[in-house]
């Protein structure tokens, strides 16, 4: 079967120069059915194929690790082990209630006064100290983490990179995968490709991605036993920050305005999750950051 697919792929490659667009599409389809096959194909079109195809879970994890390393290069972890452990306990619990409980979920609070959160493909999620300090209870933290977890579950960042400016950088990174040695593939991606792909955090996702993450995240937080409307309180707090405040500029420029997100939640979720609104809000273990 694999042999067959390889010949098909190679045959398609040979005709590619003549009828490139259509056949390339077919080839990409074949590769999507069998991502491993990519390693068997080589040629000048490799880059385009790589940037278009479905990315396998291992590649997603390696790219995600590289992107997380880049964000940590911009702002390191808050030097507070108790905080980091607490955020992992809450995040891993929420993620365990999702459709992908076995992804390698990791959470961290990074040392920046800016208010923002970042999800990277494969399950590494970083929120800033500035955002953490706005949170009043564990349900609000769970709401924020569930939003970021939803971005990971829906592959929003990988798709945005594929569709945007980071596409070529990702093609380069993926092309390298075949030659990477076993082990820490993220380190072998290279700083240039990582920098190119990190552009997604500066340009932001589609508005729909953000609304979808809010709405799915609310149900996910409810599954973990929290009041899902805690996210509404977080968005109301964000909305109250003066947009001219430097700490919210990147977040506001990469997300729909908090009030637009509230309007969307109002319109789509409304009272649909109210039977879960009696869920937990405050917990004794909530970690207050001075």
């Amino acid at each position: 079967m694999k042999q067959n697919l390889i010949s098909l792929a190679l045959a398609t490659l040979l005709v590619a120069p003549l009828t490139h667009a259509l056949d390339l599409g077919k080839l990409v389809d074949e590769l999507n059915k069998n991502p491993d096959l990519v390693n068997a194909v080589s040629g000048a079109v490799q880059n385009t194929i790589d940037a278009n195809r479905t990315i396998g879970p291992k590649e997603e994890a390696a790219i995600g690790d590289g992107l997380a390393a880049n964000l940590l290069g911009a702002a390191p972890l808050v030097n507070d082990a108790a905080l980091q452990r607490y955020v992992n306990q809450v995040g891993a619990w929420v993620a365990s209630r999702s459709e992908a409980p076995n992804l390698s979920w990791r959470f961290g609070v990074i040392d920046s006064p800016n208010v923002n959160g970042f999800a990277t493909p494969g399950g590494t999620i970083l929120i800033t100290r500035g955002l953490y300090q706005k949170l009043n209870d564990e349900a609000e933290l769970a709401g924020v983490l569930a939003h970021e977890i939803s971005h990971v579950l829906l592959h929003h960042h990988i798709r945005a990179i594929q569709a945007g400016k980071g596409r070529e950088a990702m093609g380069n990174a993926l092309q390298g995968f075949a030659s990477y040695k076993q082990g820490d593939t993220a380190r072998q991606i290279g700083a240039n490709a990582l920098s190119g792909m990190s552009e997604v955090f500066v340009r932001g996702l589609d508005k729909d991605d953000e609304y979808e993450a809010d709405i799915r995240g609310m149900a996910l937080a409810a599954r973990a036993g929290y009041n899902p409307y805690a996210l509404v309180s977080v968005l109301q707090a964000l909305s109250a920050i003066n947009p001219a405040d430097g700490t919210v500029q990147l977040m506001f420029s990469t997300h729909p305005a908090p009030n637009d997100r509230l309007n969307k939640i109002d319109q789509v979720v409304g009272d649909k999750l109210e039977r879960y609104a009696t869920g937990a809000e405050e917990t004794q273990r909530f970690y207050r950051l001075k």
Binding site: Q84, W93, G108, T124, Q236, S253, D266, K272, T283
Partner: protein, 182 residues
């Protein structure tokens, strides 16, 4: 004279406390309830655009105090915070905004500190820090028992369906009477 200064300072404090996060605006006409329950007695009917002071939050409800001094509960989603309940946190337009601060008149460009776009663009990957992050990872088993100890219980909750492609219409008029909800 001194008395004067103190009252002035107090007035300032009160004004500061009532602004931003602690106040909101109703986006639609809403009953003010005695308790955070739909079938609780109605204190009064509040018109759209009423300004409210936010006292507390519970579940899907917000405890508020009206300008006329009435207290009660309204649904969280009926309230918007931020200046005059308008757009609130703006979008691209606020990037690189230059503001002039108080009496000194110094001009500063906001957004220079913290995790800015430039810092992300110019960042070099820090894999040592990623290794540190990995050390804090917990298994879902550990997280589940920790959650149980914290009093959390799993619920079965279906996702609320969201249709993509409707985002461009985000200027949905929430104040339209067609869209009224208690």
């Amino acid at each position: 004279m001194k008395q004067h200064w103190i009252s002035l300072a107090l007035a300032g404090l009160i004004a500061a406390g009532a602004s931003w996060a602690d106040s909101g605006t109703l986006i639609r006409a809403t009953p003010l309830k005695q308790k955070p329950l739909l079938d609780a007695a109605t204190v009064s009917e509040l018109p759209a655009n009423s300004r409210l002071n936010i006292v507390a939050r519970k579940g899907a409800w917000m405890q508020v105090k009206t300008a006329s001094g009435q207290s009660g509960w309204v649904k969280l989603l009926n309230v918007r915070t931020g200046s005059a309940g308008s757009g609130g946190g703006g979008g691209l337009g606020t990037l690189g905004k230059v503001i002039t601060t108080g009496s000194s008149g110094t001009t500063v460009t906001t957004g220079v500190k913290g995790l800015s776009a430039e810092q992300i663009e110019n960042a070099k990957p820090n894999f040592a820090e990623l290794d540190k992050l990995k050390q804090y990872q917990v298994s879902s088993g550990s997280a589940t028992s920790s959650a149980r100890q914290a009093g959390l219980g799993a619920q079965s909750v279906p996702y609320v369906a969201y249709t993509r492609g409707s985002a461009s219409g985000s200027n949905t008029d929430a104040t339209s009477p067609m869209n009224r909800r208690p």
